[in-house]
C-alpha cells in the first residue's frame, strides 16, 4: 500500500520567530543611504507603513517547510495521474533545465528587438510548428492558459462578425463541453445555447440544425469530445455552421488523441487554442502557469491579439508586430508565458512529427487497453456508443455501483489514492451519471496500466464487501477526507491566516 508523507507542519506564521530573517539585500553605501533618508523624509508620514506583519524565519526553516509540504503533494513524479481531459503526461526534465537558462530568465520583454533575436526566432519557429500540426495559418502566443485562449477566440468571433456588419448574439456549446467553453462565451458577451449529445456520444446533429440561425456566431467544440469519442459527424457539423455563416472553434484540450494524425484545420475549424501544458508536456505547476496560444485561418488573422512575431526578410531580423488595427486588442502584458513556450518548443523538437503521431496513437491504445480491463468490473458501464473505440480518454459510469452498494464515484476516486494512484476526473462530463473519466496518456507503461486496473478491480470488490470502508477513504494520504462543506460555509470560510486569527479572537479561543 501507499503511504503519503505526513508532517505536523505549522504555517509560516506559526513558525515565525522574532528577529529571524531568511534573506537580506546587500547593504548600501553611505551616500546612497543618505539619499534614501532624504527621500523617506519627503514622503508624507500618512503614506508610510507602520506595521508589516510578515513572518520571520531563517533560510533553512523556509527550505525545510516547503520541502516538507512538497512531500505531502501528489505529482506525476510521484505516480500515475490519470486525470481525464488534463493530459498528465511526463514533463521532460530537460525542458525545465532549458527554461531556466539566463538567456530567458534575465531577458526583459521590452528590450530592443535587436537584443532578443534568439527569443523571437524561437517563437517564430514554434508558431510554424503549431501551424503545421493544427492546419492553422497564424498563432498568437499572448494567451496564458486554455481559457484565456478561448477568450481570445470568442472575441475574434465578435470582431469578425462585427466587421461584416452582422449582429450575432449566440454561441453554441455541447452539453459535454468543458466548463470553460460556456463561461468564456458568456464572458465575451454571448448568450450560450447548449446542444445535446446523441446516443452514440456525438453532437446531436438534428438538434444542432434546429438551433443554428442567423444569430449564431459560432460553435465551440472539443474533438475528440470529453467522452473520449471522435465527433464522427464532424463534416456535417462544419457544413451546418459554415452554411449559417458561423465560425467553428476548436478547444485543444483533447488534441493529444489526434496530434500528428488529424488537423483541426483540415476538419474545417477556423479558430484553435492549444493547451501547451497538456499535449505539449509542459508541467502544470499545481494549477499553472500554462500557455494557451490561439491560432486562426488566414481570413481571421487580422483579429489576433498582438503581438505577432514577424520575420523581416530584408533585414534578416525578427520583430514583434503590435500595429494591428483590426485586432481584438491586448489580452495580456507582453508576449505570453515565454518560459512555458520554450518547454513546448523543446518538446516538439524531441518528438518530431512522427513522435507526436506515435504519442497520439500510443495514448489511444493505452486508453482503450485500460478501458477493456476496467469495463469488465461489476457495477460499471460505458455510456454512449458502447461499441465505439475511445480515443485518449474514456468515461465510465459507476451508477450501478452506487445503486447496489451506496459507493459513489467520489468514494472510488478517494480509495484509489490509498493504492498510490491519483484519482481520475469525476462527475464530469455532466451528462454521465457518476462519471469516472480516465486519461492514461502515452507516458504510462503497460505494467503501470495493469496495476491501476487491478487496484480498480479490488476497490470494486471492496465496495461490495465493505462499502463503509470505501466510503471512508482515503486512509493513506496526509489527511483523511476533507470537510468541504465547512470549508465553503459563510460562517467558517477561512481564506487567509488573518481571517482565521480574527475569528479565533472573536470566539475568544485566542488572543
Amino acid at each position: 500500500m501507499y503511504r503519503q508523507a505526513l508532517w505536523d507542519e505549522p504555517l509560516v506564521f506559526e513558525a515565525s520567530r522574532k528577529g529571524a530573517v531568511g534573506y537580506l539585500p546587500p547593504s548600501l553605501e553611505e551616500e546612497i543611504k543618505q539619499a534614501g533618508a532624504r527621500a523617506l523624509s519627503r514622503i508624507p508620514r500618512g503614506m508610510l507603513r507602520e506595521e508589516l506583519p510578515l513572518p520571520e524565519l531563517s533560510e533553512l526553516e523556509v527550505i525545510r517547510h516547503y520541502t516538507r509540504l512538497s512531500q505531502m503533494n501528489y505529482s506525476i513524479s510521484t505516480g500515475f495521474y490519470p486525470l481525464g481531459s488534463c493530459t498528465m503526461k511526463y514533463n521532460p526534465v530537460v525542458n525545465n533545465e532549458l527554461a531556466a537558462l539566463d538567456e530567458i530568465a534575465l531577458l526583459h520583454p521590452a528590450q530592443p528587438e535587436e537584443t532578443v533575436q534568439g527569443a523571437l526566432e524561437l517563437l517564430y519557429r514554434l508558431e510554424k510548428a503549431l501551424c503545421e500540426i493544427t492546419g492553422m495559418d497564424r498563432f498568437s502566443f499572448a494567451p496564458a492558459a486554455g481559457a484565456h485562449g478561448e477568450l481570445a477566440g470568442c472575441l475574434i468571433m465578435r470582431a469578425y462578425h462585427a466587421e461584416r456588419g452582422e449582429e450575432r448574439s449566440k454561441i453554441i456549446v455541447p452539453d459535454s463541453a468543458h466548463g470553460t467553453n460556456p463561461a468564456t462565451a458568456a464572458m465575451s458577451g454571448y448568450e450560450v445555447v447548449v446542444v445535446g449529445t446523441d446516443s452514440e456520444g456525438g453532437v446531436d446533429v438534428k438538434e444542432l440544425e434546429k438551433l443554428v440561425d442567423e444569430k449564431t456566431a459560432g460553435l465551440m467544440l472539443t474533438n475528440p469530445n470529453t467522452l473520449g469519442l471522435f465527433e464522427k459527424d464532424i463534416e456535417r457539423i462544419v457544413e451546418i455552421m459554415h452554411d449559417a455563416g458561423a465560425l467553428l472553434y476548436y478547444d485543444g484540450a483533447n488534441l493529444n488523441a489526434i496530434a500528428g494524425v488529424v488537423r483541426p484545420g483540415d476538419m474545417g475549424f477556423d479558430i484553435v487554442h492549444l493547451n501547451l501544458h497538456k499535449t505539449f508536456s509542459t508541467p502544470h505547476g499545481g494549477g499553472g502557469p500554462g500557455a494557451g496560444p490561439v491560432g486562426v485561418v488566414s481570413r481571421l488573422e487580422k483579429y489576433l491579439p498582438p503581438p505577432l512575431v514577424v520575420y523581416d526578410e530584408k533585414t534578416g531580423r525578427y520583430r514583434l508586430d503590435y500595429d494591428r488595427p483590426s485586432s481584438i486588442g491586448r489580452i495580456k502584458m507582453y508576449h505570453g508565458n515565454f518560459a512555458v513556450l520554450v518547454r513546448a518548443y523543446a518538446y516538439i523538437l524531441s518528438m518530431g512529427g512522427e513522435g507526436l503521431r506515435r504519442a497520439a496513437l500510443n495514448a489511444v491504445v493505452a486508453s482503450n487497453y485500460l478501458l477493456a480491463k476496467m469495463r469488465r468490473a461489476r457495477g460499471v458501464s460505458l455510456p454512449y456508443g458502447a461499441a465505439r473505440p475511445r480515443k485518449h480518454e474514456f468515461v465510465l459510469s459507476l451508477s450501478r455501483l452506487r445503486r447496489e452498494t451506496g459507493v459513489r464515484a467520489l468514494d472510488v476516486a478517494k480509495r484509489l489514492l490509498d493504492y498510490g494512484f491519483h484519482a481520475p476526473t469525476i462527475y464530469f462530463p455532466l451528462i454521465v451519471d457518476e462519471a469516472f473519466m480516465v486519461e492514461p496518456t502515452e507516458s504510462e507503461s503497460k505494467n503501470e496500466l495493469d496495476r491501476f486496473a487491478e487496484a480498480f478491480e479490488r476497490i470494486i470488490a471492496e465496495s461490495y464487501e465493505n462499502p463503509e470502508m470505501v466510503r471512508g477513504a482515503p486512509y493513506s494520504t496526509s489527511v483523511g477526507r476533507v470537510n468541504e462543506a465547512r470549508a465553503s460555509h459563510p460562517k467558517t470560510m477561512t481564506p487567509t491566516w488573518r481571517v482565521y486569527r480574527k475569528r479565533a479572537i472573536e470566539l475568544g479561543v485566542e488572543k
Binding site: 507542519e9 509560516v12 531568511g22 534573506y23 537580506l24 539585500p25 548600501l28 551616500e31 539619499a35 532624504r38 507603513r49 527550505i63 509540504l69 512538497s70 503533494n73 505529482s75 506525476i76 510521484t78 530537460v94 539566463d102 534575465l106 531577458l107 526583459h108 520583454p109 530592443p112 537584443t115 534568439g118 527569443a119 492558459a145 472575441l155 463561461a183 465575451s188 450560450v192 489526434i258 494524425v261 488529424v262 499545481g286 494549477g287 499553472g288 486588442g329 491586448r330 489580452i331 495580456k332 502584458m333 515565454f338 518560459a339 516538439i348 523538437l349 518528438m351 518530431g352 512529427g353 500510443n362 482503450n368 484519482a423 476526473t425 494520504t477 489527511v479 476533507v482 465547512r486 481564506p495
Partner: protein
C-alpha cells in the same frame, strides 16, 4: 504502426512487441482500427513536417545556440521596468519551486493528496493579504493587467454600474488589456487628470464620479514611479458615490508604503513578478487580486480560492479549494470568470520569497530600492539640460526624465551603444511627457551601474 524498432524515451510502450500485446488484449489487429470512426480523408498520410526528432543532447545544443543570440542582463545593463522589473531572486526560491512534487502536479482537485500545494497556496494568499492589508486574496491571476480587467468586471458584477475611472498616467498596457476585458460588458473607462506632483485632480474626480460609477482605480506608486500623495482622497470620493475603490500597487513598495487596505481599498491588484519570479521575456507573470471580506464581494471574485478547514473527523487541519460554485467547472455560463489554469507555481514562489524576506527583509529591500532611486535621481539631476524627475513627488523604483532637445528614442538608442537599456520611451502617453524616458532602478544595480548610466547620459549632453 510502421517499422519495428521505434523507440522514444517519452513514449512508454513504443516497442512493437508491447503494443501488439496490448492490441491483442483489445482484440484489435491494427492500431488504425481505433481511428475507424474518423473520416478517412482527415487522417494525414504522413506525420506533419516539423523540426525534429532530436535527441536530448541535440535539443540542448539547438535551443541553447538559438537563445545565445539574446543579450540579457549578463551582457547589458537593464534599467527597464514598466510591468516586469529586474530583481535578484534568492536561490532558495528557485529550490522550492524546482521540487517536482509541486512542479508536476495538477490543480489540487483531490485535496487529501494535495495538501502540500494547498497549504503553500493558502500561505501565498495569507502573506499577500498581510502585505496589502486585505482579508481575502485569490490564488492568482495571469498578470497585473488581466487582474485589472477582472477587477473592473468584478466591480460591475457587484454593483451593476457601468463607468470606471482611471488615472491619466496608468500603464498603457494595463489599460489596453482592461479595455479588452470590459468591452463585452459595455463598460466605459474614463480618465482623471493628475497634476505635476502626480496628485489626482480631486475636483475633476468629484465631477466624474457619479451614481453610475462602478469603481475608481488608482495605482500607487504610479506607473511612472511617483507616489500619489492624495490617494486616500480618491478612495473617499469613490465611497461618497457608493462605488468601489480599486488600488493597484507594486508589492515591494509595500515594505515602506502604507498598504491599500488601510486607506479604504475594496479590491487590490498587483504584479507578483517582483517577488521571486524571473523576467522570462515577459512570462509567466502573476496577477495579484484580493478584496475586503464582504460575502457579496467575495462571491463576485474571479479565480481560485483556497481555504482552511479540517478533515471530516475534525482531527486534523486541512486545506481545500473553496467557493468553487463561482467557478466555470461548476457554474459554467454563470461563472464569475472563465479562468481555470492560473499561475499557481508562481504563487508558491511568491510565498517562499515573502517567507524568506519576512518583516525585516522586505522592509530592507524597499528602503534599498527607495534609496537607490533617490540617489540616481540626485545624480542625474547634476547633468546639464536634463529634467529629472518630471513629477515633483517622491519616487519609488521608477522615475521619468528628459534631455532637452533630445528625442526619447534617440536617447535610448545612444544608451544602447553604451550597453545600457535605458528605459521605456513614454513620450506618446501624453503631451506633457514629450521626450520622456521611464527608468527603473532596483537592488540589482550597483553604484557603479548607476554611475555608468549617469556618465552615458552625460556624454550625450556634451555631444
Amino acid at each position: 504502426m510502421g517499422q519495428t524498432g521505434y523507440r522514444h524515451p517519452y513514449i512508454a510502450n513504443s516497442t512493437q512487441e508491447t503494443l501488439e500485446e496490448m492490441l491483442r488484449e483489445l482484440g484489435v489487429g491494427d492500431v488504425w482500427e481505433l481511428y475507424s470512426d474518423v473520416p478517412r480523408k482527415y487522417i494525414l498520410e504522413k506525420p506533419p513536417a516539423i523540426e525534429g526528432p532530436l535527441s536530448e543532447q541535440e535539443v540542448q545544443a539547438h535551443v541553447r545556440s538559438m537563445l545565445s543570440r539574446n543579450k540579457t542582463a549578463r551582457q547589458l545593463k537593464l534599467f527597464i521596468g514598466g510591468g516586469v522589473w529586474p530583481h535578484y531572486i534568492p536561490a532558495a526560491v528557485r529550490e522550492v519551486i524546482s521540487r517536482s512534487e509541486f512542479l508536476t502536479s495538477y490543480t489540487p482537485y483531490q485535496p487529501e493528496a494535495s495538501q502540500g500545494m494547498l497549504t503553500a497556496l493558502f500561505e501565498y494568499q495569507s502573506l499577500v493579504a498581510e502585505l496589502y492589508d486585505v482579508d481575502v486574496v485569490n490564488s492568482s491571476m495571469y498578470d497585473w493587467a488581466t487582474a485589472v480587467g477582472e477587477a473592473f468586471r468584478m466591480a460591475h458584477r457587484y454593483n451593476g454600474r457601468k463607468k470606471i475611472i482611471v488615472p491619466r498616467f496608468i500603464s498603457p498596457e494595463r489599460l489596453a488589456v482592461a479595455e479588452t476585458y470590459v468591452k463585452p460588458l459595455g463598460l466605459e473607462i474614463v480618465s482623471v487628470r493628475q497634476d505635476e506632483h502626480g496628485r489626482i485632480d480631486e475636483e475633476e474626480l468629484k465631477h466624474l464620479a457619479d451614481r453610475d460609477t462602478a469603481a475608481i482605480y488608482v495605482e500607487n506608486p504610479a506607473y511612472l514611479g511617483f507616489i500619489v500623495e492624495n490617494i486616500t482622497a480618491a478612495g473617499e470620493i469613490a465611497h461618497d458615490v457608493g462605488s468601489l475603490f480599486i488600488v493597484g500597487a507594486e508589492p515591494t513598495s509595500l515594505g515602506i508604503l502604507k498598504p491599500p487596505g488601510s486607506y479604504g481599498a475594496d479590491i487590490i491588484v498587483g504584479e507578483g513578478q517582483p517577488l521571486g519570479l524571473p523576467m522570462n521575456f515577459g512570462g509567466p507573470l502573476m496577477g495579484i487580486l484580493g478584496c475586503r471580506h464582504e460575502q457579496r464581494l467575495v462571491h463576485a471574485m474571479p479565480g481560485r480560492l483556497i481555504g482552511m478547514t479540517e478533515d471530516i473527523r475534525g482531527e486534523r487541519r486541512a486545506f481545500t479549494m473553496v467557493l468553487q460554485a463561482r467557478e466555470q467547472h461548476i457554474r459554467r455560463e454563470k461563472a464569475t470568470s472563465n479562468i481555470c489554469t492560473n499561475q499557481a507555481l508562481c504563487a508558491v514562489a511568491v510565498a517562499a520569497y515573502l517567507a524568506l524576506l519576512g518583516k525585516s527583509g522586505l522592509r530592507s529591500l524597499a528602503e534599498h530600492i527607495l534609496a537607490k532611486t533617490a540617489y540616481m535621481i540626485e545624480r542625474l539631476s547634476k547633468i546639464n539640460n536634463i529634467q529629472v524627475p518630471l513629477f515633483d513627488a517622491p519616487h519609488y523604483m521608477e522615475f521619468t526624465y528628459r534631455m532637452r532637445g533630445v528625442k526619447a528614442k534617440a536617447l535610448l538608442n545612444k544608451l544602447l551603444q553604451h550597453g545600457i537599456v535605458g528605459g521605456i520611451d513614454v513620450s506618446s502617453m501624453h503631451d506633457s511627457l514629450n521626450g520622456a524616458v521611464l527608468t527603473c532602478v532596483t537592488e540589482v544595480h550597483s553604484r557603479e551601474d548607476l554611475e555608468a548610466y549617469a556618465r552615458a547620459v552625460e556624454s550625450l549632453g556634451v555631444g
